[in-house]
């Protein structure tokens, strides 16, 4: 955790983390951009993939590519086994109670839409309330707005403070017997804030509301245990967790999933179809209509193996050290303001610079090989709250180094020089 304020000081951290060894696993990290070594600091948008993941996907396509759950032939059996093994790995990763509680989806966005359109649509009515927070990603805002339009439910928003923390007292005031769903981000992509979701969940449950946790930014940085949290739904995307794009997972409590109507209709989600009547399949298949992203799920399984081998505790320790180092270094830049200074933060550094728009920073950094994200980060209400049109955001992963942070900071100084004409 970092100290905050202008006097943030960096003290070299503890972990004997072999960053060079892990970097060797990521082929892309050896490429150059504009003649400079790539410094990839856009991990919150998507992470890079280790060779182990790339090879798992490659191996599937080369050796046992087949559709799942339908062929009696060897390839289909192998593909089915690998796909279901990946589901089991997700279950272990989240410590869910059963494989039936893990639904493969396209990503966090689809998982939230699924819950809104099945659980939400079938249980909410006019006047019911849904609570989200100011720091949600658009994917945890718009599906609920759609649901509100469809059902007459009302969306309520928990405010944040100047550091980018949830204001818990305000949340408690918003909760009432009308609250049906609380959908809350675990770690903010725009600010890095770690939200105390356990407390959020407890309070919601006292009112009988159901809680969805958006773990898209949390799973790459911290282990999470859905049973210990007691959340009702948990969602994440594979691509931010060193796995392939186009796949992700929805965890849901079995009791809820069983009550929910299906999301889409098609093959695989049925037991029996006649024109008079269709019988839906059991969990988790009821929610997996059509041929899923088989290669993606297998790649996600490989990514989980990879992360487990390094260990999320070691990853978190190393990243917190990088974050402290980066926070202190960026604060040395005159005119730089960090956006998001919660004491409990993941390795995300959002900032603005006096007199230089984030997009210009982005272009100048790109010339030094440094990839960051600039813009509103799909969190426009956060930008409005801090009264900035956009921020520059460096988001760190465990394969980033202290030297890369130095390159980032040098490039930011260079931006100031260019604009100081």
């Amino acid at each position: 955790m970092t100290s905050k304020g202008t006097a943030a000081r960096y003290q070299a951290g503890p972990p004997a983390f072999d960053v060079e060894a892990v970097r060797a696993d990521f082929p892309i990290l050896s490429r150059q951009v504009h003649g400079k070594p790539l410094v990839y600091l856009d991990n919150a948008a998507t992470s890079q993939k280790p060779a182990q993941v790339i090879e798992a996907v490659d191996h599937y396509y080369r050796h046992y590519n087949a559709n799942i759950h339908r062929g009696v032939h060897t390839l289909s059996a192998e593909a089915t086994a690998a796909y279901e093994a990946a589901r089991h790995k997700v279950r272990d990763f989240l410590n869910a109670g059963s494989d039936k509680e893990i639904i493969f989806v396209r990503g966090a966005t689809e998982a939230i839409n699924l819950v809104a359109q099945t659980f939400g649509r079938s249980t909410l009515k006019g006047g019911d309330e849904i609570i989200i927070s100011t720091m949600e990603h658009h994917s945890n805002i718009v599906p609920w707005q759609l649901l509100c339009e469809q059902t007459g439910a009302v969306l309520r928003v928990i405010p944040i403070n100047d550091k980018g923390e949830l204001i818990m007292e305000a949340y408690e005031k918003l909760l009432s017997e009308r609250t049906r769903i609380v959908s809350i981000v675990h770690i903010s992509n725009a600010l890095g804030t770690v939200v105390p979701v356990k407390a959020v969940i407890e309070k919601a449950h006292q009112r009988g509301a159901v809680v969805l946790v958006d773990g898209a930014q949390a799973v790459p940085h911290a282990s999470c245990d859905v049973q210990a949290l007691d959340c009702d739904f948990y969602v994440f995307s594979s691509h931010k967790l060193f796995g392939p794009t186009g796949v992700g997972a929805l965890y849901g409590k079995q009791r809820l999933l069983e009550q929910m109507p299906p999301y889409q209709g098609g093959g695989d989600m049925i037991k029996m179809v006649t024109f008079a009547r269709t019988e839906y399949n059991d969990l988790p298949y009821k929610f997996e209509a059509g041929t899923p992203n088989i290669a993606g799920a297998i790649g996600l399984g490989a990514a989980l193996d990879y992360v487990n081998r390094i260990g999320l505790a070691a990853i978190a320790g190393y990243e917190q050290d990088l974050l402290a180092y980066g926070t202190a270094a960026l604060q040395e830049v005159p005119g730089l303001r960090l956006i998001g200074t919660a004491p409990d933060k993941a390795s995300i550094l959002s900032f603005v610079l006096d007199g230089i728009h984030p997009h210009d920073i982005g272009t100048i950094l790109d010339h030094e090989g440094v990839a960051i994200r600039t813009g509103h980060h799909c969190a426009m209400p956060v930008m409005d709250f801090f009264r900035v049109p956009a921020t520059a955001r460096a988001s760190l992963a465990f394969y980033n180094t202290h030297a890369e942070i130095d390159t980032l900071v040098r490039a930011v100084f260079n931006a100031r020089k260019i604009f100081a004409k």
């Binding site: 728009h357 997009h359 210009d360 272009t363 100048i364 600039t374 813009g375 049109p389 004409k421």
Partner: protein, 149 residues
Amino acid sequence: MFDLKDLYQEVIVDHNRSPRNFGKLAGADRMLEGFNPLCGDRLTLYLKLADGRIADISFDGTGCAISIASASLMTDAMKGKTTAEAETIFNQFHELVTATRADPDLEKFGKLAALAGVREYPTRVKCATLCWHTLHTALTSDQTTVTTE
């Protein structure tokens, strides 16, 4: 390889820091907002038209250096032009920054030539053209907002 200095020329940096024709225009008879949802750049253009000419023009809003400098340079270049002349300059400028002509004649662009560096930065072309599309729309339709997407 391109040099960053070709993009962030002195003229650009200067027009970003002290944009010309910045602020609302009293008595404007045309006002149009341009928005780039991708990056949040938001400019409003104010126009006074008389006898088929742009008698006066100004803008305000927020954006990156490229979009602010472009709006500043554009408003300077457009003052006193007929709407037909404005359309011609719009088309030429569009060609200049989207690199549809390999070897642009920079001379004829005057100060606007400072924006030619944008052609090497495909991700930034929309920043440079936001105000231009807004002007084009203001002169050719009665829409009230323009977006780049």
